[in-house]
Amino acid sequence: MERRNFLRNTSLAMAALMIKPPIPMKEDTVLGQGNRRYKLDNHWSHADVAKYPVNDCHEMIQDSKGRILLLTNETHNNVLIYDKKGKILESWGHEYPGAHGLTLFDENGTEVLFICDNSRHQVIKTTIDGRVLMTLDYPKETGQYTKPEEYIPTETAITPTGDIYVADGYGKDFVIHYDASGRYLGYFGGRGPQEKHLLNAHGICLDFRDNKQPNLIVTSRQQNAFKRYTLEGEYINTIALPGAWVCRPVIKGDYLYSAVLQTNSRQGDHSGFVTILDKNYKVVSNLAGSVPNYVDGKLDEMYQTIKCFSYPHDVCIDDEENLYIAQWNSGKVYPYKLSPVI
């Protein structure tokens, strides 16, 4: 906007204020701490609810065209494709009643999607516009499963060579490893008393920030932690996030972002927030959550401070460092957008 226009608009607004009774203007809600602070826009989506309904908004990604893809378990349109301003561009998908996990992979210059479906007990690879390329059924090769119902995959991570890791986060908490063609290679994780075990392995991602030693980060949500493993499935260490039911880890640049579905101190009470960790897995900012505090290297229990999210389920970071927050069981709300405050 040119400066002259800006001035004129301002004086018009002032005039309007003088005529009308004063309307309380709400300042922007700014969330987070340090150099990871964001302005909240909870009216980002322009979707018409009659045309593009959602149920749970589970996960979001941005494709190379800059479009934002949302996966919902509403079979009227399992995938909604937005521009960054919140306008719906297109939609597809009616056959994913348990649509949960959404991962984008650049396969030799062509982008493909991996969808985890909780209800179908399958992982489905599709083109970006929804044509099915491959379906992975329950992993009986592991010897750990006797029927599809025991397997409830929640997330995938794909290596640069196309290897697929599937987290069975609502099933038996194993991580199953396949090659690019879907051939079974092995598994790790599962439930148990040891540090290497998982409880509610809800998310998984690859971490290339240390390029000498790429590794896998897997969520152990009921243990309020991320756990790190080598690509071979050897346990490395645990990143404790006391109080926080972290969903999937999402890495962009130097930072790791994760929606916190809810907190231990207020379970079942819409107590979610969003957490951001730096390269050293240290929490640097909580959006709508408590200021992170470390005492002798140990993180204090975290909790929600502002009730602007109910049950956030995923964070998508776009090419301009804006965040999009998808929410589960939150009154069918569309995603919110958060823009960096500089």
Partner: protein
């Protein structure tokens, strides 16, 4: 009506396209070891959100910005002290109020024998009901004995024969988990002269129909007449029929009890 009006006004004023919504602060974190204490108990409050303050009262009143600002942990020494706390901050609606009532130890209890609880909720062993542990509204804390049956019998033996004025029982209310306070409590004392149990008092409780948050709720039952004894028998009748408005209507509720005090 007032409850309906506020969100409506809020959405009219703040949700009309040129402004963003006004959000509410979450309640502060209230932490203490146990609501039951011998000499004193320390309660702490936390709310790490810049620009906000925690206000609290100890007299049962709803906290306002005219009340004390929380700065350091609070020592409670007086029995039945209710701490209420609430967060206020510019640009946000004030939080819901959190609260806890702290309960002082009573006459020395030698032993308690009770009906065997459900195997999933065995509490913390034989001393669960008089270990001064609990008063935390979390069904998964190990302080509660859980029952789902027609009646629960509790037999209490005191250190020595002495005057008994009242009995306090602490229950969990977690309606989402089908846990309700009981519908009836009957207390008997052993009368040496008659060599039998005599009624001390009884209380019937109407199930709350609008309880929102999980909470520990206590019942203080006074002796109807002068009582001098070293043995009490308590018969608790869990809520036999969950109210209409609840998804579990008509079914038997769970009873969770974590402590008994004799005064």
């Amino acid at each position: 009506m007032k409850k309906l009006l506020l969100p409506l006004l809020t959405s009219l004023l703040f949700n009309n396209g040129f402004g963003q919504q006004l959000f509410q602060l979450a309640p502060p974190m209230l932490q203490y070891h146990s609501a039951f204490f011998k000499d004193s108990e320390t309660a702490s409050l936390k709310f790490a959100q810049p620009g906000t303050k925690i206000y609290f009262t100890l007299n049962g009143a709803e906290p306002t910005q005219k009340d004390a600002v929380y700065r350091k942990p609070i020592d409670v020494k007086k029995s039945l002290t209710t701490l209420k706390a609430k967060v206020f901050g510019n640009g946000f609606l004030p939080s819901e109020t959190v609260q806890a009532t702290f309960i002082k130890d009573g006459l020395k209890i030698k032993s308690i024998e009770q009906s065997p609880p459900n195997e999933k909720y065995p509490g913390n062993g034989a001393t669960t009901l008089f270990d001064n542990e609990g008063g935390i509204a979390n069904m998964h804390s190990k302080n509660f004995l859980g029952y789902q049956q027609d009646s629960v019998e509790i037999n209490i033996t005191l250190d020595k024969k002495q005057p008994i004025r009242s009995v306090l029982l602490d229950f969990l209310r977690d309606e989402g988990s089908w846990i309700f306070p009981p519908q009836k409590i009957t207390i008997f004392y052993f009368d040496d002269a008659k060599n039998e149990f005599e009624i001390m008092n009884k209380k019937e409780i109407i199930a709350n129909t609008n309880a929102k948050a999980n909470a520990c709720v206590f019942e203080l039952i006074k002796a109807g007449a002068k009582v001098n004894s070293n043995r009490l028998k308590i018969i608790i009748q869990p809520l036999q029929s969950i109210p209409e408005w609840h998804p579990g209507k008509g079914k038997q509720a769970w009873l969770f009890i974590d402590e008994i005090k004799i005064y």
